[in-house]
Subunit: 687 residues, 2 copies
């Protein structure tokens, strides 16, 4: 568990600290010295008494008591050093930079396991091994550079890959992103991404804590923990973006050669992130852009004003936002005309608001005030301002900073020039501001953030099902596919409507069955193989008289020994499926049937359990949603009932986790509801 000794140690020892700053042990010491660390600093180096001006002890045994140890020595020496530190020196925080542990071979794994046992035995915290270290606002505990600007209100970054953490910092720095902490968890021997997130959640202080978290992960070891703490943090007002790489087949192979762990199913990850409210990013630049967006107030609506001194970038941004499902409302009326009058001739205010290459800082101020005050249709403002290099633009960037301080609506600065305005950008970033170099990358990221829904409620309202009956059937079932009666029992217990059917070999039974099922119904001979060819199928049977007549006729047909009756159903084919996903629990899938699954792969997945609301959101995201609503004069499907069925299946698999996979395919849906016509359930009890 993360502790105060790790975050804010009173003393740090670099075991393996050296004068050679081209080595991790030398470089991490250099970074500590260059940084703001105010505690005591020690080195252990068997050869010298002083390293980079810091007192060096020849052996770990010689050290005084010390909170935190950073180890940069060969793997084989680590367990003993940790033992002495933990048991004799009161050390409660360990950062092991060295490689050569479980990522390499079984021998290394044994070393790692011994270290974890030792650290656990004293209730300590362990970061790594095989990582670049830890950065907090108190100390620079990484062996890499650059060190980003550290700020308690900056970003908390947790990364499963050290080099990637470094490159993410670099990408962020180029947009002015500051960092509050960086945890490179390496092999996650004791503390992984999930545990760090748990700590950030449990220690969250609305007054002091950073509100932006970034994650880089290749495999999610503890999905439930990630879901719990990510959604909890977001409910507390945080914003989280994450890269989960290795989602493609080839990427999964690449990730497994990188971390040794098979990548999690990408569909499951997608569902987990959506449930948690995490913005999923695909690359470092996108992650840094989203982090930048997170540093500004959240949008309260999807209407953007675009303020620009150059037409082209504004057109491209308009395209990006509009294609991303946001609005760029046309601004007109008296207030717009008043604004136009205060700008140079040739300006336009219809949105984009183009105040021309000659536009001034003062005019920008007027425009921003108008957007804030006069245009209710505007929820946020993107300001594009570069420079042709004629004169400095400090005044413009200062104006942006000033207006940002008081505006309720977020103002996003896009600086399309770089080479010629480095100084201005630096001054702006030094005020703690983040900026965006490319309008389209910004626009795409903003649309993605906007479309990421809030986390699902902690305790969702779930449909009630007959738990006892479900458990009874499951407990009696063996592995493999369930028999029809078992399936019927489970569906009934879960409250899923299914097509009624039955078989009768006596006329009176047949009539009774027909009454139970209800009209209209279908009658089919039982016995003959080719039922149609022997005239053994009758559709749309509407009354008892026909039932009696057809029963008598059918029983005369060769090979017929009984008659099957089934509800005559009509509607649109939909489907619901569920699949147990390692570590993630069950994924529940839904969509339209037939070609929509098989050819168009138009399926949405959610992580069980799903409330009716969450199920409904999934349905609405289907590409074929219009068909469910009803299109071209066709009836459509009762959306509420479809969503309820999806939610019921998600509750069923929660209660019966022994269900390995199941399909209701098809269900027939119409305005009245959805009815399962065919179902398949496979049980696989875990040992």
């Amino acid at each position: 568990m993360i502790n105060e000794q790790l975050l804010n140690p009173s003393g740090i020892v670099v075991v393996g600290g050296s004068d050679d700053i081209q080595k991790p042990g030398g470089k991490v010491l250099r970074n500590l010295l260059d940084g703001d660390f105010k505690g005591r600093l020690y080195v252990v180096n068997p050869k010298v008494d002083e390293v980079q001006g810091v007192k060096s002890y020849r052996k770990v045994d010689d050290l005084p008591q010390v909170d935190c140890a950073i180890l940069a020595i060969a793997a084989k020496y680590c367990p003993d050093a940790v033992e002495v530190l933990a048991k004799q020196k009161g050390t409660k925080a360990f950062i092991i930079l060295s490689a050569g542990f479980s990522e390499e071979n079984a021998e290394g794994a044994a070393l790692e396991s011994r270290i974890v046992d030792t650290v656990n035995s004293v209730g300590g915290a362990l970061i790594g091994p095989n990582c670049i270290g830890v950065l907090t606002t108190h100390y620079n505990g990484v062996f890499t550079t650059p060190i980003p600007a550290l700020d308690p209100r900056g970003v908390d970054l947790i990364s499963g890959s050290g080099a990637t953490a470094l490159f993410i910092m670099d990408a962020g720095m180029q947009k002015g992103v500051k960092f509050s902490s960086v945890f490179s968890v390496g092999n996650s021997a004791q503390l992984g991404v999930e545990e760090v997130l748990e700590y950030l959640d449990e220690s969250f202080d609305p007054e002091k804590s950073s509100r932006v978290k970034l994650l880089y992960v290749e495999s999610i070891a503890k999905p439930e923990k990630l879901l719990k703490h990510a959604s909890s943090l977001i409910r507390k007002g945080c914003r989280i973006a994450a890269i989960k790489s290795g989602g493609s087949a080839a990427g999964s192979r690449a990730a497994s050669s990188h971390t040794g762990a098979l990548a999690s199913s990408d569909v499951a990850v997608e569902a987990l992130f959506r449930k948690a409210g995490i913005v999923r990013c695909n690359g470092r630049d996108e992650l840094a852009t989203v982090a930048g967006i997170f540093m500004y107030p959240p949008l309260q609506g999807k209407n953007m004003a675009i303020v620009t001194h150059a037409g082209g970038p504004a057109v491209m941004l308009t395209d990006a936002l509009s294609n991303g499902g946001m609005e760029i409302p046309h601004l007109e009326g008296e207030k717009a005309l008043q604004l136009l009058e205060q700008l140079f001739n040739g300006s336009s205010v219809g949105n984009p608001i183009d105040f021309l290459a000659t536009g001034t800082a003062e005019q920008l101020g007027i425009i921003l005030d108008a957007c804030e005050r006069d245009f209710d249709a505007v929820d946020g403002i993107a300001v594009i301002f570069g420079s042709p290099g004629l004169f400095p633009v400090f005044d413009v960037y200062d104006m942006l900073d000033r207006k940002m301080k008081t505006a309720r609506k977020p103002i996003f600065p896009i600086f399309p020039s770089y080479t010629i305005v480095k100084e201005e950008i630096k001054a702006f970033a030094d005020k703690g501001r983040v900026y965006f170099p490319d309008e389209v990358l910004f626009g795409n990221a903003l649309a993605k953030v906007w479309h990421t829904a809030a986390p699902q409620p902690e305790n969702p309202v779930l449909p009630a099902v007959n738990v006892q009956k479900i458990r009874a059937i499951i407990d009696q079932a063996g592995n493999g596919y369930l028999a029809p009666e078992q399936i019927h029992g489970l569906l009934d217990a879960a409250g899923i409507e299914r097509a009624k059917e039955g078989v009768a070999d006596q006329e009176e039974d047949c009539v009774r069955l027909a009454t139970e099922i209800g009209y209209p119904l279908v009658m089919k001979v039982v016995g003959p193989v080719h039922k149609s060819e022997v005239n053994g199928v009758v559709l749309h049977v509407k009354d008892e008289q026909t039932v009696r007549r057809e029963f008598r006729r059918m029983m005369q047909i060769k090979d017929t020994y009984a008659v099957m009756l089934a509800q005559q159903l009509s509607g649109t084919e939909v489907f619901i499926g569920a699949k147990r996903e390692q570590k993630f629990g069950h994924m529940v899938l839904c969509g339209l049937g037939g070609i929509f699954i098989e050819v168009l792969k138009d399926v949405k997945a959610g992580l069980a359990p799903l409330s009716c609301t969450e199920a409904r959101e999934m349905i609405r995201q289907l590409k074929s949603y219009k068909i469910i609503q009803g299109v071209r004069g066709q009836e459509g499907v009762n959306e509420a009932k479809f969503a309820e069925a999806v939610a019921r299946i998600s509750v069923l698999v929660k209660i019966a986790p022994e269900i390995f996979e199941m399909d209701l395919n098809p269900l027939l849906g119409n305005k009245a509801g959805v009815v399962a016509v065919d179902a398949r359930i496979r049980i696989e009890k875990e040992n």
Copy 2:
């Protein structure tokens, strides 16, 4: 027309040149002086005799003969100055930076028009007005900074927006992209993007000319010219990428307020670019990334090796390439093992080839040699190499440059560190190399480049149609929807198979008609409104005997005065449409019918005329293509015949441009072919 005086003038005068470099006239002079211009330089400034050390004339009239004039004076003074220069000073090239012309009002448009007339009268070239100017390897004729590195083998950039050209240069410079020329065409009074491209095409010299062209356009004034010269350049070995913005509805409004021109239909643009082989980009960063890719040899296949010293970025790049439809082939066997032996313990070569954070320049060389020589499955190599800041990486980047010089396979350098390796990156760029900061943005761009097909052939093979018959029908037709007989005539003349049908009121006629149509067929009463209710429809009629019997029976039915016979067709509903698009000619559209058009918008569009090959490519890009191939035991559609029908419609509308829009919806397709069941054609003759 662009001329030598514009590209490489022996003398340039800056009319309106001043000492104030915060003004365009001062800044453009400064840039000329700072650049490599070797010719004579003059200034016209009514107030002084020398400006920035250059001789200044008080009046244009006082100037000696001069090839090229750059005007930075108020719009109203421009026409007279141009008059004197053109008529008296032998000036053949004009770059007008000033604004206040047709982009502002009618008065400005009149000034602009006068200038164009004057320039045309001497056969001169005019760039602008309302632009940032021109850059060539001979002179810096722009008033903006930064000035990118100029190199005859760099990129030719043509932009309809001046500021955007500036920002594109800036984005390119940050990746090491060099420029051969930059044309900011402003109002395109005489020379627009298309004319510059035409010149680059007609003057193309395989020995000397740059092979990479970038375009930024908001409205395409001359699509045919753009198509002609872009495809011609690409056939000559060039590579072209373009941003066409204003594609969304809101973006179109934004573009029109920017340039005054309505944006072209985005579907038409998409079709034009595909036909020409232009890589379409959506933003500056993407355009600069594609330009960077263009600076390396083209990929000959889609198999990429990823070489890295850090796992995470390699996993993300693998995902990006793989999701983009490229391959990252698994490398194994003896050669792979040999390679592995030469790397540090813990490296992997399965692809990604990860040679660890400790990997050396020498090892990189060995890996690149192996990829070039030993792994036939590899078509190109992406090398990811950043730095944790422990030591400089000059040797690694030098190795990259050296191997690039001899490798046949392209090697793309991805540098995920920036802050800490600025010097190394600069040294690499100074060797003329381009690099990529973000692996995912690179991967997405590479996949886009790979999937951009070659231009269509200059003289495509088109299906033969009956031109005379088509013209006869069209010439006789008035505006509006055509009558059934006219439609039948056009379809027959175009060689489109259609459902045969006819009406008979005599038994013998009916039998003859049935023989003509062929069996099976459908018979329907003509007269009664509700045909089914009076038993007036018979399907699947298979022989003459049934025709006779049913004819007699039907003629007895109340209100019946004739019987209609039609081919009994079955198959999958597909559709073909065509629409005249302003300036672009006709778009031809195809897809599956029904919900595929209406709900899923699964439609591909091509610019007429289309060869069967091009039509087939369109069909294969449909999301529902699998249904055309046949799926779930269903028959599918004869792809060759469907493509031929698309091509035939494209030829029809070329011959009959009076067709404003037409729909064949549906056609029924099966393995035998496609047959039009219903068609609508609307004529709108232009005045």
